[in-house]
């Protein structure tokens, strides 16, 4: 299904929480492990703009659509970070830009090599790299929706559930964009399918793995994705990813949980 980019840009808004009773968190605070997960989510949302580095400018009329989407998408994700920070603030946890900077400074060499690796890869496979980028984005957005849904189910906090529902609704539009782009590019090229299969199965890791400490990744995945319900949610994401052209049989989310030792 075609994604209507003009409709998307015209209706893109920062997520609203002004009508929600955040004071309720003072009366019914979230438990410490949940706050730790929420903090991780906020950091990941704030870091989204860094993924703009993966954008390759290819001579294509669709590139204007990609640019327009990325502009709105960056801003929506930034506001997801702000919304989650507002919840954390009710628990006297302050997220400020200087702290975020400190966490990005920890990234080190691996992170700095990333754009080079990706540009070299992009140069080698040209157009097909865009298929990787779009499929990768789709996997991340599906994961984000799932994470927010799981969080809402686990906490049973009505105000948190409503805020996460609003955020997840925006993530669903991100999924729609990435999948429409990815499907089209994958369907057009078996080479794109092969490169994407290789990149996803070889390099994909849960969102935030490249910017957060391994302990934090394990905590969040254990918190949200362990047990039968967690696995079922993971399988659902894998089914969506493997439903794209040429990606049948991929189980990258379940594989990642196994690697992290998250109990099924």
């Amino acid at each position: 299904m075609a994604f209507d980019i003009d409709r998307y840009t015209a209706t893109s808004v920062s997520v609203n929480w002004s009508d929600l009773d955040l004071e309720s968190f003072r009366r019914e605070p979230l438990p410490e492990p949940s706050l730790r997960t929420l903090r991780y989510m906020a950091d990941v949302e704030y870091h989204t703009v860094c993924y703009t580095r993966d954008l390759l400018t290819t001579p294509s009329h669709r590139e204007a659509d990609v640019s327009a989407f990325m502009t709105m998408w960056n801003r929506e994700e930034f506001w997801h970070g702000e919304a989650l920070a507002a919840v954390l603030a009710m628990h006297d946890i302050t997220v400020d830009y200087d702290q975020l900077k400190a966490s990005r400074l920890k990234l080190g060499w691996k992170d700095r090599l990333d754009p080079i690796k990706q540009s070299v890869l992009g140069g080698l496979v040209g157009h097909d790299f865009v298929a990787v980028h779009m499929s990768w984005g789709a996997a991340n957005e599906w994961s984000a929706i799932t994470a927010y849904q799981r969080m809402a189910e686990l906490e049973e906090h009505p105000v948190l559930a409503e805020l996460l529902r609003r955020i997840a609704k925006q993530e669903a539009r991100h999924v729609a964009f990435y999948t429409s782009q990815a499907r089209e590019r994958l369907a057009a090229s078996t080479r794109a399918q092969k490169v994407t299969r290789f990149a996803l199965s070889r390099f994909w890791a849960p969102v935030g793995s490249s910017i957060m400490e391994p302990d934090e990744v394990r905590h969040v995945m254990g918190h949200l994705m362990s047990g039968a319900e967690g696995r079922r949610a993971a399988r659902k994401v894998d089914d969506s990813i493997s439903g794209m052209p040429g990606l049948g049989g991929l189980t990258i989310v379940q594989d990642a949980l196994d690697r992290l030792g998250v109990a099924a």
């Binding site: 703009v49 580095r53 204007a64 960056n74």
Partner: protein, 284 residues
């Protein structure tokens, strides 16, 4: 030093200006300008104005290519700067949208010499992401100041064109010109906050670090001007530069080129030679 260029400055009245509030900027970012545009009234603008509008639209819309080039360097680690750039790109998206609409209403695409399609695809200019990332290894956080200086100077260049678009036609008293002047004033007000951020943040960093100032001189001297001009046809770029630099505003400000040079030199550690190089690249 407040009258050195066409950019809107916040009067400081002797006191240091308050530090730029990035959160407040994000909260009050200006979205679509469509509702404020009287497109019926702009038909019949001179072809030169329509051509400049089209070029400006492409330049304003080239944010993602610029973001990508900047984010492969250590600048991506500065969360305050990246938070600013997110809303900056959003505001510029809608400025470009408004400019495309005005240009199309003034002179349907194809009627003017500029053939850039709406939201024209960006072509690569200068060094690609690989060379930038490799250069970034040696630069460290000092490169952030250089990138902010680029943003400031680009704003100065574009503002010269906006000033001329908004001022020259006002004298004619034609309806279309008045409507254009209003739209341009609205756009300049949105951009004034960007300029203020770039200027204050660049000045702080260039003052604090001589190395940052050296990197800024180098980046300024070798960047394509205006920054998004990789997406603009060569003759449109040249026409744009003539339009922006050749204009002599009222008062004793001198030509656009002279005022631009003064604006560039107002950055700490940026000399007349660097300013001359920027202008030479613009005029090339």
């Amino acid at each position: 030093m407040n009258d050195t260029n066409g950019a809107v400055r916040i009067p400081t009245s002797g006191a240091r200006p308050a530090p730029f509030d990035v959160r407040d900027f994000a909260r009050t970012a200006q979205g679509s300008l469509r509702a404020s545009l009287d497109l019926d009234a702009v038909a019949g603008l001179p072809a030169a104005a329509a051509r400049t509008l089209r070029t400006l639209a492409v330049l304003e819309g080239a944010t993602m290519a610029h973001l990508r080039n900047v984010l492969v360097t250590p600048t991506h680690k500065d969360a305050r700067v990246t938070a600013f750039l997110v809303s900056w790109a959003y505001e510029k998206y809608w400025i470009a949208d408004a400019l495309h609409l005005i240009a199309d209403a003034a002179a349907p695409a194809g009627a003017s010499t500029a053939e850039s399609a709406p939201r024209a695809p960006a072509r690569e200019t200068g060094r690609g992401p690989i060379r930038r990332a490799l250069a970034g290894f040696g630069q460290g956080p000092d490169v952030v100041g250089a990138h902010l200086a680029l943003g400031f100077v680009d704003d100065l260049v574009l503002d010269l064109a906006y000033e001329r678009l908004g001022a020259a036609e006002r004298a004619d008293g034609v309806d279309a010109a008045v409507v254009l002047a209003e739209a341009v004033a609205r756009i300049r007000a949105v951009k004034a906050r960007h300029t203020r951020f770039f200027e204050a943040e660049a000045a702080g960093r260039l003052t604090a670090s001589p190395r940052s100032a050296r990197l800024a001189r180098r980046e300024l001297a070798r960047s394509p001007w205006p920054l998004g001009s990789g997406s603009v046809a060569a003759d449109d770029r040249r026409a744009f530069a003539r339009f922006a630099l050749g204009h002599r505003a009222g008062g004793a400000g001198g030509t656009g080129a002279e005022r631009l040079a003064r604006g560039i030199r107002s950055l700490p550690g940026i000399d007349a030679r660097t300013a001359a190089r920027v202008i030479r690249r613009l005029e090339a």
